[in-house]
Amino acid sequence: MMTNTGNRITQGQFSFLPELTDAQITAQVRYALQNDWAVSVEYTDDPHPRNTYWEMYGNPMFDLKDPAGILMEINHCRKTFPSHYIRVMAFNSTRGVESPAMSFIVNRPKPEPGFGLVRQEVDGRAIRYTVHSYATDKPESERY
């Protein structure tokens, strides 16, 4: 992608910006808590855009008042999975909404191999295109 020179994965909010600092993450989480959204931490080593469900790091945190607790959890997750993708999500549980309201990446592996375009020749001269993550060529746990 020409606009994404660093070959960084761009998913969720702020993904075209430099890494958020802890103070900036705290500010974002504070905003989520002010809106009574439940914040959760998730991680994955397969950042394919269609991989919607990442592994949950602990349960979503309901009933929190202060972002310090969530930052603590984020840091635990970073320590456990230093070279995985980690994202913070805010879930709006209002009846009828019930969907994520925020989502941003707070940790990513150093080398991000990115994605390749795979062309599959099918019936006749038709071609199907699909996106393939180079990282997933290796088995889990060895990807980054």
Binding site: G58, N59, M61, K65, D66, A68, G69, I70, M72, E73
Partner: protein, 309 residues
């Protein structure tokens, strides 16, 4: 940060204004008004308030001594107001800007300690996360440590608590509460816990006079009143109840008042007829005198009671 940079032009701090802005005066006054007695507790609270206020002033001049450790332990007999003071403490600390939200999370052993291996840490952490930015109140904290069972998971909870108490001092304040003697044993077997708690506050028992004042405050809040002879009866009741076992200070008084309300309701119901405001709000001497305490008094008490009648 450079000290000179943070310093205001005149290099002075208006303590009086800081004091006014923090509204701590109102909270302290309310504390004084709503909580009867408890002299040592109030003294310590105003000391802490003064310290935090000065700390704030120092910060404005760029002087930094680091956040003081404010973890506390409340010891005292049942019903001496430990929980009530803890709620107030959260409010005071919030007004002084020490904690960010000023909510109180009250927990006991059940909320911290899990039932199987690997259950305790997430449970304790969840509680800690909820308490961040406020006050974590652990009631009957000595149950966390069970020396008779060396595989008890309580120790794990204590370790996590200690870690957070040390590393995230400005994120939350932990208050441990419990009966004096058992808390002493608890601290003896957990020296790390003792040394991390800066303030050990002992809640004294109430005197009979203080309990009567408390009773009146409670009734006022419930919109009841005592007739003059009921007041006398209550005084009598308190003296007798204090001599009996299982006396739980203010809690016993609240229970006694609840039972008196029950008897009053029963009496009014039996009387029937039209009720007016004063009838509905007044507790009579009979409502109190019918208590078990007056019939089941210890031997010497019974004698004085019969001579009085």
């Amino acid at each position: 940060m450079d000290a000179a940079e943070a310093e205001p032009d005149d290099g002075k701090v208006d303590l009086a204004r800081l004091f006014r802005d923090s509204h701590v005066q109102e909270v302290l006054e309310r504390l004084d008004h709503e909580l009867v007695g408890l002299k040592p507790v109030k003294t310590r609270i105003s000391e802490i308030a003064a310290l935090l206020l000065i700390e704030r002033g120092r910060k404005q001049l760029g002087l930094n001594a680091g956040a003081p450790s404010l973890h506390m332990s409340f010891t005292g007999n049942p019903g001496t107001g430990k929980t009530t003071v803890a709620v107030r403490m959260a409010e005071i600390l919030h007004n002084l800007g020490y904690v960010r939200h000023g909510h109180l999370v009250a927990v006991t052993r059940d909320d911290l300690v899990g039932q199987y291996i690997g259950h305790t840490a997430p449970k304790t952490k969840e509680v800690l996360k909820k308490a961040m930015g406020g006050v974590l109140f652990i009631d009957e904290a000595y149950y966390l440590y069970r020396p008779e069972n060396e595989r008890d998971y309580g120790q794990e909870a204590i370790e996590i608590l200690l870690q957070v108490m040390e590393n995230q001092r400005d994120d939350l304040v932990v208050i441990l509460a419990g009966y004096k003697d058992r808390m002493d044993t608890f601290f003896r077997s957990n020296p790390g816990m003792r040394s991390r708690i800066a303030h050990h506050i002992d809640f004294p028992d109430y005197s009979a006079q203080e309990l009567l004042t408390i009773a009146q405050l409670m009734l006022e809040r419930m919109q009841y009143a005592l007739s003059p002879c009921a007041r006398e009866a209550l005084q009598d009741y308190i003296e007798r109840r204090m001599a009996q076992p299982d006396f739980a200070n203010a809690r016993s008084i609240r229970n006694a008042l609840d039972r008196a309300r029950l008897r009053q309701a029963n009496r009014l119901f039996a009387d029937g007829g039209a009720m007016d405001r004063s009838k509905l709000t007044t507790l009579e001497a009979d409502d109190i005198r019918k208590s078990r305490v007056f019939t089941m008094a210890p031997a010497d008490e019974t004698r004085t009671a019969t001579t009085r009648e």
